[in-house]
Structures are given as structure tokens and as C-alpha cells.
């Protein structure tokens, strides 16, 4: 089966820009989340999950990890960690929920909110550079071959951060399966892969398995 439009493989690469904000307490973290750039929210949430994809037990975002390790507040850390980036297609919404959780906690425990953390939290930002490669896929077989050779940053770009780019709760692969190959079941299966409990490599393996099953005729269009 040949797609209406090809899948364009992109090599993505990321720089970390050090911001000029830092936080030494929960209160300062809460204020920092209000004021920091969208690129900073992105770095500490979407990017953090990609950077730590090999941690599949309880690592979610930098804010939650800092609250746990530097402020020793496991309940609050758990609430922050429970924010699932797959639910967000806008950084403003994600920032709003982070602010709400931290704001509520600081209001409930004003003294604890001002306690000094073990380590400082430094706000950083992502700078993304994307480079379309010469590689395109017109068929499932070609996409599978490209996936096998894709670096982690590119996989992160196509599978994880695509939501913000597309403003859709999906990823580049699923979108292509559904839109250009009319393979909605394959798109759904790939979209359901849980990136919190998979590494990028195991997610890649599962996508390839789904593609193989689709090629073998297991999925209906």
C-alpha cells in the first residue's frame, strides 16, 4: 500500500539554554513556573521525559523529581508526576495545572513552602533544531526500515513532542497511518503505547511489531 503523501523523517537535536530563574523553595518554584517561558515548561516536562526515557518506574518530570529529591515532599511530587503530557496539546494548559497543584500546596502549607530545599532548582529552556533528512517513507515497510535506524532524539521528536506541534493528541506516525494510509486501527494501537512505562527503544520495538502485524493483515483499516 502506497501513501497519499510520504512520511518525512526529521533529525531533531536539542540545546539546553540556561534561564535566569532559579528556585530554592516550593514557593519560589511556584513563582518560577508562573514566570518562566513556554520553552522552559517544555524542557522540564516533555523534554525531561524524553531525556530520561530509560527510567520507566516513577520518573515523570523535573519538577516532580526536584520536589521529591530536594524538598522531600513525596505526596506533592506524586501529584506533579501524575500530570500526563499526553493529555496536553498546549503548554499554557500544562503550566496552568502545574501552577494549580503547587499553588494549592503552598497555600495549605505556607511554612513548608518557604523551607529551603537541599539543592537549587534551575530553570532551563529547550532550543530545538530540526533537520529534515533525505529519507521519506511511502509504504509501511519503508517507515519500518526508517524507524529501525532512527536516533533517540528523532524518535522523541516524532513520537513524543509531536502533540504540541500538531495540537492533536497523537504522534507523527499515527497521524500518517490514519491520514495518508487510512489505517486507523494501526494509528490507534501506536498511539496507545505508554511512553511512561516504555523506553524509547521498547516503544520503537512495539511500533515495529504493530507495523509487522498490520502488514500481515491483522489490523483492519
Amino acid at each position: 500500500m502506497r501513501a497519499a503523501e510520504p512520511f518525512q523523517f526529521v533529525t531533531a537535536s536539542y540545546l539546553v539554554r540556561i534561564g535566569n530563574q532559579k528556585a530554592a523553595s516550593l514557593l519560589e518554584l511556584s513563582k518560577g513556573i508562573e514566570d518562566c517561558s513556554d520553552a522552559s515548561i517544555f524542557y522540564h516536562t516533555f523534554q525531561s521525559l524524553g531525556r530520561h526515557h530509560f527510567l520507566t518506574e516513577g520518573f515523570s518530570n523535573d519538577f516532580a523529581q526536584w520536589v521529591l529529591a530536594s524538598c522531600n515532599r513525596p505526596a506533592l511530587a506524586e501529584r506533579l508526576a501524575s500530570l500526563d503530557i499526553r493529555d496536553y496539546v498546549s503548554l499554557a494548559d500544562l503550566r496552568g495545572d502545574l501552577r494549580r497543584i503547587l499553588g494549592d500546596s503552598c497555600a495549605e502549607n505556607p511554612r513548608e513552602a518557604q523551607q529551603a530545599a537541599f539543592e537549587m532548582f534551575y530553570f532551563c529552556e529547550t532550543v530545538e533544531e530540526e533537520v529534515p533528512t533525505d529519507r521519506r517513507a511511502w509504504t509501511l515497510e519503508e517507515l519500518r526500515d526508517g524507524l529501525k535506524e532512527m536516533g533517540h532524539a528523532s524518535l522523541q521528536f516524532h513520537f513524543l513532542t509531536s502533540r504540541l506541534r500538531l495540537h492533536l493528541r497523537t504522534n507523527d506516525f499515527s497521524r500518517w497511518f490514519a491520514k495518508d494510509l487510512a489505517l486507523k486501527e494501526l494509528a490507534r494501537q501506536v498511539d496507545q503505547i505508554d511512553i511512561y512505562t516504555n523506553t524509547l527503544d521498547s516503544a520503537r520495538t512495539r511500533i515495529i511489531q504493530f507495523i509487522d502485524r498490520c502488514i500481515a493483515g491483522e489490523f483492519r483499516a
Partner: protein, 412 residues
């Protein structure tokens, strides 16, 4: 390891050699990024071609960039003994130490900078100036030509005010500055980027070793391969707290059988190192399970073997820059117990890629926990390896430079 050895092994390491540890996709990404920089020129400038971490890094990065068809040149500034005495004093002062030299030393520094500016050629698209010694070469930039980047490899979290006040106006004229930790960033008015230090997985200190060599190394130092080995690799320096490590080991030993290896160098040519070594030996007493090894600088393979033979690697520093010995241990899939100082928490994500501690007692507890839970220890080691593979290898450094150059190019 001697410089000659370093250069020799760096010469034989090709990009494709790294594919075995990184996967071909990562190497393909580097090639794709570099292709966008075709025809662009890069100049790296530092203060020495041999010895020191920056030279060792450039020795490895420059050939890889060349292989990626990036036209790169590496230049080294020159100066008399008086210049390097001043830059050494700058270095210590920027780390937070005193600066007692007269104001005249700033003039001497600038006079040597001017000599270097007149002697050297600056026409690259991207000029990367490493560390404070050549920082004032920004004067050589004409009409905002090219992109100039200052790469600071030292801990600037608490700089001596007098020296930083002198250097900051030069640094502020660059297009960007690069630091090894967010904690080192300064209010400069230019974009500041985070580039982690890195290790070379194919170097003698990090490459895979034959089990026979590891066994032979243990035998040579009288270490029992059949019993748990706790190791700290570090200079004999009070900031590495070797006596604290010994106290933690003694506490563990009350409950669990184990040996301690404290291996490092720096005692032969450093009076303080000699004193610290003596303190450690005295604290160890006659315990036959404590192995204190003062190793010469060319012991990369032996250090590699000791790390690989270890059950747990410790880094109980009181202060730390980044802690590349931690990176090396994590790369070798070792469970690490380390202090939460400097760049260590970036590498040791508590309970994910290792365990952090804040005291002798805490260190002892975490060691006991790992000795009693080998499956958890193994899992931490595996994740630590992945963490290093993603972020702290020499190829990641190449990628960051390429991305930064590309970022400038696209912005222009």
C-alpha cells in the same frame, strides 16, 4: 595515561567505531546535522595542546568533526611564564579562591592577548574560545563577523569578584557562553547554554576489558575477587573525603564482609596530597581489606579494571565540579553511592541511576542497602549506563556543538 597514548588512541577512533555503543541512528543524526554546516568553518582556541581536560577533549572532538566534513581548526595561544602564572591565579580565583596579584597583572594578561591576536588568524564562521586564558581575544573580532562562543569549563558558581569584574566585560561581548552546570551561569546579557562534560567510551579508561586483565589487575594489587569490593577513584584530596569513605566502609564492615579500594594519584607531586595519603593510611590502620593505591598518571587501564571489578563505586566528595569518575563508573554499569554535590545529582538521579547520600552514616547505609539488594544494585547500574549513553559521551558533545552552530546559522 600519557598524552602520546591519548593522541594515538584518539586517532584510531572513527565515527563508525562509536556506532557499536550508540547505534547507527545516532551516528546518522550527527552526519545529517553536519551536512547542514557544509562549507562552514570552525576554530577552537585554548591555552594548551597537551595535558588538561580541555586539550584531551579537543584531541577527540576535532578528528570527529573533521570526519563529519566540518572544516575545523584548533589553535593554541602562547605566552611566557608570567602570563601562565597570571592565568593560573585567574583560574583559582574564578573557583572562589583569593586573588592577590597587583593590577599590573591585568595589563600583562592583555599584552599577551594582543600578541596572540596579532599572531593568529580569526576568520572562521564559528569561533569557540575555551576558558579564561584566551577570553580577551574577542578583541580580534571585526564588525561582528562570524559567531563567537565562550566555553567555560570551570566552576564559576562563586567567582572572585575582582577577577570576574575584569573578565565579564569581555565575555559579555560573545554571542553565547557555554557552562557545564546551570549553577555556573552568570548574569551576562548573552544566551548561556548547558554542555555537560563527557567521557570517551573507547578510551583506555572506559573501553571494555578482557576479564583476564581485570582479574590480573586485582591479583597484582592483592584484592580478593571473590568478595565484595567498594571503590573510590579520586585524587588524595580532602575535598574527595577519603577518610569519610573509610569511616563509611568501617561502619558497613561491622555487618557485611567487604573490601575497600581507595585508588588515585596526586600524592607524588602535591604536598597536600601526600599529607592526605598519610592521614588515610593512618585511619586505615592494619586492616588487610583496605587497599590504598597511589597510582601514576598512566594508569588508565588499571583504573578501568578496578572500576569494572567493583561491587559498588563510591564518590563521597565534599565539593565536586562535575565528577567524571562517577560518569565512568555509571558507564561501566556500576551501582554508585555518591554525595549530592556539584554535578553529581545530574548524573546520579536518586533511586533511579544510583543513590545519593549527605553524610558518612548515609553513605554507609546506602552501601549496606545495595550489598543486601544486588538486584536493585544491578538495575541502578543498568540505568546509570543508559543515562551516560544519552547525555555524557563525547559524541553528545559533538552533537551539542553541531546543534549550536546550526542554531546560529538558522537564526542568521
Amino acid at each position: 595515561m600519557s598524552q602520546t597514548q591519548t593522541q594515538a588512541e584518539a586517532r584510531v577512533n572513527k565515527l563508525d567505531d562509536y556506532a557499536a555503543v550508540l547505534g547507527s541512528g545516532e551516528i546518522a543524526d550527527l552526519r545529517a546535522l553536519a551536512a547542514r554546516l557544509a562549507g562552514r568553518t570552525v576554530q577552537m582556541v585554548n591555552s594548551t595542546s597537551v595535558g588538561g581536560g580541555v586539550a584531551e577533549m579537543l584531541i577527540r572532538i576535532v578528528p570527529l568533526m573533521c570526519e563529519l566534513n566540518v572544516c575545523i581548526r584548533w589553535d593554541v595561544i602562547t605566552g611566557g611564564d608570567d602570563f601562565f602564572a597570571i592565568t593560573k591565579a585567574f583560574h583559582n580565583a574564578l573557583h572562589g579562591g583569593r586573588f592577590d596579584l597587583p593590577d599590573e597583572s591585568f595589563k600583562t594578561f592583555l599584552a599577551y592577548t594582543e600578541q596572540n591576536r596579532a599572531r593568529m588568524q580569526f576568520d572562521a564562521d564559528f569561533t569557540v574560545i575555551h576558558d579564561p586564558q584566551p577570553a580577551a581575544l574577542i578583541d580580534a573580532r571585526r564588525n561582528h563577523a562570524g559567531h563567537w562562543i565562550w566555553r567555560c569549563h570551570i566552576d564559576l558558581s562563586n567567582p572572585n569578584e575582582r577577577v570576574w569584574r575584569f573578565l565579564a566585560p569581555y565575555v559579555s561581548r560573545y554571542d553565547a557562553a557555554i557552562f557545564s552546570s546551570p549553577a555556573f551561569a552568570q548574569p551576562l546579557g548573552i544566551p548561556q547554554y548547558l554542555f555537560y562534560p563527557s567521557i570517551d567510551p573507547l578510551s583506555e579508561k572506559n573501553r571494555e576489558l578482557a576479564p583476564e586483565f581485570v582479574s590480573a589487575t586485582l591479583q597484582r594489587f592483592g584484592i580478593d575477587a571473590a568478595r565484595p569490593i567498594l571503590t573510590q577513584i579520586s585524587r588524595f584530596d580532602r575535598l574527595k573525603d577519603p577518610v569519610g569513605v573509610l569511616r563509611a566502609y568501617q561502619s558497613v564492615k561491622r555487618y557485611l564482609d567487604c573490601q575497600l579500594v581507595l585508588a588515585g594519584g596526586g600524592a607524588a607531586d602535591d604536598p597536600e596530597g601526600e599529607a592526605v595519603l598519610a592521614e588515610v593510611r593512618e585511619a586505615a590502620g592494619t586492616d588487610p581489606d583496605v587497599h590504598i593505591l597511589d597510582l601514576p598518571p598512566w594508569s588508565a587501564l588499571e583504573i578501568n579494571a578496578l572500576q569494572r571489578a567493583s561491587t559498588i563505586v563510591i564518590q563521597k566528595s565534599l565539593r565536586e565540579g562535575f565528577g567524571l569518575t562517577v560518569t565512568e563508573a555509571l558507564w561501566k554499569r556500576k551501582p554508585v553511592v555518591a554525595s549530592a554535590v556539584g554535578g553529581i545529582p545530574t548524573q546520579v538521579i536518586h533511586k533511579h541511576t544510583g543513590l545519593l547520600a549527605h553524610s558518612v552514616e548515609g553513605t554507609a547505609y546506602q552501601i549496606r542497602f545495595l550489598l543486601s539488594n544486588p538486584a536493585i544494585a544491578q538495575r541502578l547500574g543498568e540505568r546509570g549506563h543508559e543515562h551516560v549513553r544519552e547525555h555524557f559521551l563525547i559524541t553528545s558533545n559533538v552533537r551539542r556543538y553541531l546543534t549550536l552552530f546550526l542554531h546560529f546559522q538558522n537564526a542568521a
